[in-house]
């Protein structure tokens, strides 16, 4: 009975082992399997049967194990041998056909280099915008009020949140303010982040040298300390080794540099100095003042931004009840940090990513077309091999290996080229901190490698679809056509797709170029040519203190001793025409409110920057702090509030702070597209003497030579504002260029992508035209023989190419229109269906196609019947 049970168990084991070994046999390469499968299987079964006769589970298991291992080892070894053979074959084929191989490698290289650049940008600007490891838990917190979606935080509210909100395990607040830093006799205007020391650790900022800020630095009794950023350390101090411990004056207060920290351009663009916030807490104690303070919190592990948001709203409602004068109607917005820091770059990244994907797709289509052309040339060999019993899988594997080998070589070249392009972009855009930090990381290389594998395999699979339909009879009958399938038609289709994608990219690049390079610079400053601007900080610059006083009279007096004459005015802003603040405005006696951008300016400012007074008057020197508050509105706001642009006896009420202010409207000026938020938002101007603010920019339109005026203005400013932080005297055009630099870069990169994709598509069209001419050589030779005129033959070839081009162009325009609707938010000044751009791109596409097809057309004109008859025997 015991023996019977053992036998049963042995039989069960035997069956199982046989099943396993049969499974292992499937791992062998196809050719090997076809040759030896039956014999190998029989031998393995014999071995197992023989070992079973020993009636020992151990012997049976050992034998089966040995068999299975030997089959798997052989499978690995045989696959390796096949791979080596395929690589050798691919190398031989590449050496035999150097030009098509170079074309494939070049095409892939272009695609991979573009992908390397774009993936680096995605990595830095989207996936890892901050050094913080737990960015998913970080949240950006702001206040909201009726009609204002994002409002900075009042410091007392922040302190209350810290006490009452449970969803955060770390808190920090910061604000960015301009200050004057004196290092020795030189004064610089610097952008300062006043922050809780905790912010540095929340953001994961480790000091490059020295130490970080610590809570003890916040004590008023301690000596003032500050950190500087890496870029400022390099630019201002030449990366001096002895930077830690240096004494500087910040807004007149002696402070010590205690460390250097990396820049955080995605969150704190342009920040050069860090100081503790609490030292300024007394000036922030007014709950009605929202002085540019923002809060960053770290969510507890189990909390989501939505949960925190709900809790914040409850706390805000409670504060509204406790402080109705300042907090009623206010609420809190909680934004995931990644969403906050990538808000401005996300659309650009998406466009660049789509462009890179488009170029990759064009490259893959182009390489497919080139591989198809190879297939066509090898169709006779391939058909014979298939007819003689070679497996299609074997052929497909050979193509895949060839394709992968080429894509791997291209990856190396593309990664190198991409890195070089990145270095070039960084060098060319050194002033853009986000760009300066781009680098090719391991993640980028890994993703590029994966992409090369995917594109290589996709190209191979696509190409082998053609090979599957090979038939010997067709190939032998008409080797040029490659049998039943018509590769030329397929290539034409592929080329149509390329033209569609390339046209779409060209149109998008055109829309961006028109918006950023042509339209917006003209609208950002009314008359930028011949206008100088310089930013000055005359007092401590603490918000809330009526500090900045313009000294136009003194400057004009100083200028009087020079040959420079012109119009001088000032605006309370950091740039010559950025209004900045938004406030609610209503007509006195009415409830309906309008939001408007507001700026304080001196008399003559509007005329100096190029705006005209449509009705009423400009500000006067008499509009000072002792006279009735006055205002000038633009025509957009005037139409909304008054229903017209005539001044009349109007009074406005503005709501800023606790107490509404009544203003008399004395003039209406022309609207000007100054707002980045809403180009159609109305504008309100106040006299600077009645509304002093810390930032002051002088604008000067000289009547004499610009360069001399720049020098004279600077020396006049130094004399009239001794010891103040005076920025560089720039022309408005220079300011525009600086402001536009990231956009110019984006347009440049997109333009390069579009141009490259078009070059690739042109190569495809050229290939199709050449193949078509070669395939119809008999036809052309006959036409030449019977006296066809060259012009007719050229037109004949052009017609074929235009058919492909126009189909692709039409599809590309439809695609571009659809994508144009999606990018409306970032291309605001140009219609997504801009006719001029479409016509320009369409015309350029047709013209270049005709030029590319001209050379094959000339070949058609020279086809000779005699030569053809000699060559075909």
């Amino acid at each position: 009975m015991k023996g019977a049970v053992d036998l049963k168990a042995l039989s069960f084991l035997e069956t199982s082992f046989v099943r396993v070994i049969r499974h292992c046999l499937e791992w062998l390469p196809f050719d090997f399997r076809r040759e030896f499968h039956a014999d190998l299987e029989q031998t393995a079964l014999d071995e197992i049967a023989e070992s079973k006769s020993h009636r020992s589970v151990a012997v049976l298991t050992r034998t089966a194990w040995r068999s299975a291992v030997s089959v798997i080892t052989t499978a690995v070894h045989e696959h390796w041998l096949v791979l080596l053979a395929d690589v050798r074959s691919a190398i031989a084929r590449a050496r035999a056909t150097p030009l098509p191989t170079a074309a494939i490698v070049l095409t892939f290289t272009i695609a991979f280099s573009i992908n390397t650049v774009v993936l680096s940008a995605v990595d830095r600007l989207f996936w890892n915008p901050l050094p913080a490891a737990d960015i998913e838990r970080l949240a950006f917190i702001h206040e909201t009020s009726a009609g204002l979606q994002r409002m900075s935080v009042a410091y007392p509210n922040y302190l209350d949140w810290r006490e009452r909100v449970r969803g955060m395990d770390a808190w920090s607040a910061y604000r960015m303010v301009p200050m004057t830093m004196n290092v020795g006799p030189a004064a610089d205007r610097v952008s300062v982040a006043q922050a809780d020391p905790m912010l540095l650790s929340i953001l994961g900022l480790q000091p490059l040298t020295g130490r970080s800020l610590i809570p003890e630095d916040e004590a008023l009794s301690s000596f003032p300390t500050l950190l500087i950023t890496d870029s400022f350390w390099r630019a201002r101090f030449g990366r001096a080794d002895d930077i830690v411990g240096r004494a500087v004056q910040l807004n007149g207060v002696s402070s010590t540099i205690v460390g250097v920290v990396p820049d955080v351009p995605m969150l704190l663009p342009g920040v050069q100095v860090w100081t503790p916030l609490a030292r300024r807490a007394s000036s922030l104690a007014d709950r009605s003042q929202h002085l540019g303070l923002w809060v960053i919190g770290r969510l507890r592990p189990e909390w989501t931004p939505e949960m925190a948001s709900a809790e914040f709203r409850q706390v805000a409602e409670a504060l509204g009840r406790e402080h109705p004068l300042t907090n009623r109607g206010n609420s809190v917005g909680v934004v995931a940090m990644r969403q906050h820091v990538t808000a401005e770059t996300r659309a650009a990244i998406a466009v660049l990513g789509a462009a890179a994907a488009g170029v990759s797709l064009i490259a893959a289509l182009n390489v497919s077309a080139l591989l198809l052309a190879r297939w066509q040339r090898r169709s006779r060999e391939a058909a014979l091999r298939v007819a003689l019993g070679s497996s299609f899988g074997r052929l497909a594997r050979q193509i895949a290996t060839e394709s992968l080998a080429l894509s791997t070589i291209s990856l190396v070249c593309g990664a190198g080229l991409g890195y070089a392009a990145l270095v070039l972009i960084r060098w060319n855009s050194a002033e853009i901190a986000e760009i300066r930090s781009l680098d090719v990381g391991a993640w980028v290389l890994g993703a590029s490698f994966a992409l090369s594998i995917v594109i290589g395999l996709a190209t191979a699979i696509w190409s082998t679809r053609f090979g599957r339909r090979l038939d010997l009879y067709g190939v032998l009958q008409d080797p040029e056509a490659g049998g039943r399938p018509t590769p030329l038609r397929l290539r034409s289709w592929l080329t149509t797709c390329q033209v569609a994608l390339a046209s779409c990219l060209l149109i998008l690049a055109g829309l961006f170029a028109k918006a950023y390079l042509l339209v917006e610079p003209q609208t950002s400053i009314v008359r930028p040519e011949g206008l100088l601007a310089v930013t000055v900080q005359t007092e401590a610059g603490t918000p809330g203190r009526p500090g900045t006083v313009h000294r136009i009279d003194e400057i004009e007096r100083e200028l009087g001793s020079t040959p420079t004459r012109g119009n001088l005015a000032a605006i309370a802003s950091r740039e010559p025409h950025v209004l900045g603040r938004q406030i609610a405005v209503s007509l006195s006696g009415r409830e309906e409110q309008e939001w408007a951008e507001v700026a304080s300016v001196t008399p003559g400012y509007l005329r100096t920057v190029g705006l005209s007074i449509r009705s009423g008057r400009d500000f006067q020197l008499a509009d000072d702090s002792n006279s009735r508050p006055v205002a000038i509105v633009d025509d957009v706001l005037a139409r909304r509030l008054f229903g017209g642009t005539e001044v009349g006896p109007r009074s406005l009420r503005i709501t800023a702070g606790i107490k509404p202010v009544e203003l008399e409207v004395v003039g209406v000026t022309t609207h000007f597209n100054a707002s980045a938020v809403d180009p159609q938002m109305g504008q309100l101007y106040l006299p600077l003497t009645q509304n002093p603010t810390p930032d002051l920019t002088y604008v000067f339109r000289p009547q004499s030579a610009l360069e001399q005026a720049r020098v004279d203005l600077r020396s006049a400013l130094v004399k009239s504002h001794p010891g103040s932080g005076i920025g560089p005297v720039e022309t408005a055009t220079e300011i525009l260029n600086r402001r536009n630099a990231p956009r110019v870069l984006a347009v440049g990169v997109l333009g390069v992508f579009a141009a490259l994709s078009w070059v690739l598509a042109l190569a495809g069209i050229y290939g199709v035209a050449s193949s078509w001419v070669a395939g119809h050589s008999r036809d052309f030779a006959l036409r030449n023989a019977v006296g066809a005129r060259p012009r007719q033959l050229v037109w004949f070839v052009w017609r074929q190419c235009l058919r492909v081009t126009l189909a692709g162009l039409g599809a590309g325009m439809i695609l571009a229109s659809a994508l144009g609707l999606l990018i409306r938010t970032i291309v605001v000044d140009v219609s997504p269906m801009d006719l001029t751009t479409f016509l320009w791109v369409g015309g350029s596409v047709v013209a270049t196609v005709l030029a590319a097809a001209y050379f094959p057309a000339r070949q058609a004109c020279s086809a000779s019947l005699m030569q053809l008859m000699r060559s075909t025997g």
Binding site: F32, F36, D39, T43, A44, V69, I72, T73, A75
Partner: protein
Amino acid sequence: MSKTQMDPRDNLPLTPQLFHVLLALAGGELHGYAILKDIADRTEGQLQLGPGTLYGIIKRLLQDGWIEETDSPGGADSRRRYYRLTADGRKIALAEAQRLESLVSSARSRRLLRPVKA
């Protein structure tokens, strides 16, 4: 076949597995399992090839022309494929055997092995 023009010594030394397969076939035509058995018997179980390894070797020997497939001998299992040495294979096996013999002779001359009794 170009292999016949080669000096057999160019292919030496052979791997032990490969030499044992040639040795098994030197006794006559055999199928795969019989080759395995022969090797295991001759080496008293010290060398036990797996079927995968064996057919990897057979594939290489067929490609190099050292062995060839032959019809099943009368009365043998017709489902199996039989292999035998070609002239080249025999020469190479002989050359390897002579190489090993000379090694053994050297070992004897250095008294590493006992001399063979007459």
